[in-house]
């Protein structure tokens, strides 16, 4: 009798397991379909050239990353960036050579005042050219940061839906709250302050060549202050994100484990089965969460590629042109180019910090322990 009961129990358990194996894939598809709306909103927020790199249905696709397409994307932007920067480089280089040649002719004048008047004219021509280039770069950086914020805003509903579905309510709430704060700060502070800052620093750098008064210390102070404030704010956000998430995760884990214990202890007969069903659902959610998180991280990293390439190439070209000016003894033009080089480095730091901050938030989201541990 006992053997019969044991044999019957094993048959039922096997059938039950087989059911999970057969219907597990359907559970995954059902969960995937419930986040389709938010995922498609997120994919629509991406620029066309990035969203085309991902499969049409990434949650049900075996391969979400096409390495060849990503490499082609990066190479295409390198070539277009080199093309744009080369035009600017040739223009500025030609202007330097022409200015130096005309200045050397003008230096033969015995009247120094006429020499200085010509130098004023040449410095103004040069300043306007560099100003246009730097303001264009600042506009590109602002546009990138706005796009990044828009993408993160589109990802938040998806993140919160999956988080709540998995039972990680506290950590999802914390993560979303801090992400919203970060997006608001980036949009409200970085984007608004970037253009005035770039123009101020460039204007200050032009004072010495035109007016003879060296105000480069003020420009350095402004940049240092802005960088310090940004780094401080981002450090606080990083700390809040990681520390609060750890506490919230513990909270969620405790709640879910309590619920599981209650279900398995007090629900008769099928308590354990419900427990196992919850595990299947949470595992499926974990896969979907990881997939969505990885897609978002790759999208943000790819968004960063064009702006980083542009800023790096412009920084290199300004640095090289500054060296050429020093070699040709054009000190005023060299100082303006040094300032432009410094501003490119400053914008690179801002872009990198913003990107790293959002990737960190997404990594925390992926690594958040699934509610049912």
């Amino acid at each position: 009798m006992k053997k019969c009961i044991l044999f019957l129990f094993f048959i039922i358990a096997s059938i039950f397991c087989l059911c999970f194996i057969c219907f597990g894939n359907d559970i995954h598809k059902d969960i995937a379909s419930s986040v389709d709306g938010e995922l498609s909103n997120f994919m629509d927020s991406l620029p066309n050239d990035i969203s085309s790199l991902f499969p049409t249905d990434p949650l049900n696709s075996n391969n979400i990353i096409n390495e060849k397409s990503i490499i082609d994307y990066i190479i295409s932007y390198i070539f277009s960036g080199v093309d744009n920067v080369a035009r600017s480089f040739v223009s500025i280089f030609t202007l330097i050579i022409v200015t130096c040649a005309l200045s050397s002719i003008c230096n033969s004048l015995s009247n120094s005042a006429l020499n200085n008047a010509f130098k004023l004219c040449s410095t103004l021509c040069f300043s306007i050219t560099i100003f246009h280039s730097c303001v264009g770069l600042a506009e590109l950086t602002s546009a990138y940061i706005k796009t990044l914020c828009r993408v993160m805003n589109a990802f938040l509903p998806l993140m919160s839906t999956m988080g709540i579905m998995s039972g990680a309510i506290s950590s999802t709430t914390t993560n979303c709250a801090i992400s919203v704060l970060a997006i608001t700060l980036v949009e409200g502070f970085l984007v608004v302050c970037l253009m005035p800052l770039v123009k101020s620093c460039l204007t200050i750098s032009m004072v010495k060549p035109i007016g003879g008064c060296n105000l480069s210390g003020i420009s350095k102070t402004i940049k240092t202050a802005f960088t310090s404030v940004s780094v401080f704010v981002m450090s606080i956000l990083f700390f809040l994100l990681s520390a609060k998430n750890v506490l919230a995760q513990g909270n969620d884990s405790l709640s879910i484990k309590t619920a599981r214990f209650a279900i398995s202890s007090f629900v008769p007969i099928v308590g354990a089965s419900i427990n196992d069903a919850l595990r299947t659902v949470s595992s499926s959610l974990g896969v979907i969460k990881s997939t969505c998180g990885i897609i978002a991280i790759i999208a943000i990293a790819l968004l960063m590629v064009p702006i980083i390439i542009h800023l790096l190439l412009y920084k290199l070209s300004f640095g090289f042109l500054g060296s050429v000016c020093k070699a040709l003894n054009c000190s005023s033009e060299g100082e303006i180019l040094e300032e432009a080089d410094s501003l490119c480095g400053f914008m690179l730091v801002l872009v990198a910090c913003t990107c790293v901050m959002f990737i960190f938030a997404l990594t925390i989201f992926i690594n958040t322990a699934v509610g049912v541990a």
Binding site: R87, S88, V90, S91, I92, T94, L95, V98, T99, L102, I105, C106, L109, S110, N111, A113, L114, N115, A117, F118, L120, C121, S122, L124, C125, S127, I128, T129, F131, H132, V135, M195, P196, K199, S200, L202, T203, M206
Partner: protein, 127 residues
């Protein structure tokens, strides 16, 4: 005109100036002014292909609109300097200074569109 011919002409003119200085000083002044104008015209003729080359070099670049300002400023500086030097040669230092002042102001007036362009780029900072 080759440099040897130009130097030869200048030496001849110098000789005439020295000769005329002793008995007709005003003629030496006229010869001096005439030679200065002649050498300036010769210089402009030589520099003409250089200016055309610079124009063709920068025609497809964004800096094309700034080159005329530079060339005008340089031209004004040289013309004013030549005039001031002629005034100084005659002993009219005050007139030379006034001519230089005129040249400086004229260069600043030519640079006004550049100053305006630069201020329009920076005006958002003031807003």
């Amino acid at each position: 005109m080759s440099e040897l011919k130009l130097c030869g002409v200048i030496f001849c003119a110098l000789s005439l100036i020295v000769v005329f200085k002793s008995f007709k000083a005003e003629y030496s002044l006229f010869i001096r002014i005439a030679m200065t104008i002649g050498v300036t015209i010769a210089t402009l003729l030589i520099i003409q292909p250089v200016l055309s080359y610079v124009e063709s070099l920068t025609s497809n670049l964004t800096i094309n609109k700034y080159i005329p300002y530079l060339l005008k400023a340089l031209g004004i500086a040289f013309i004013v300097q030549i005039t001031a030097d002629c005034c100084n040669d005659v002993g009219e230092g005050t007139l030379a200074e006034r001519v230089c002042l005129f040249g400086k102001i004229q260069i600043v007036v030519i640079s006004l569109p550049l100053i305006d362009a630069l201020l329009s780029l920076t005006k958002d900072v003031i807003k």
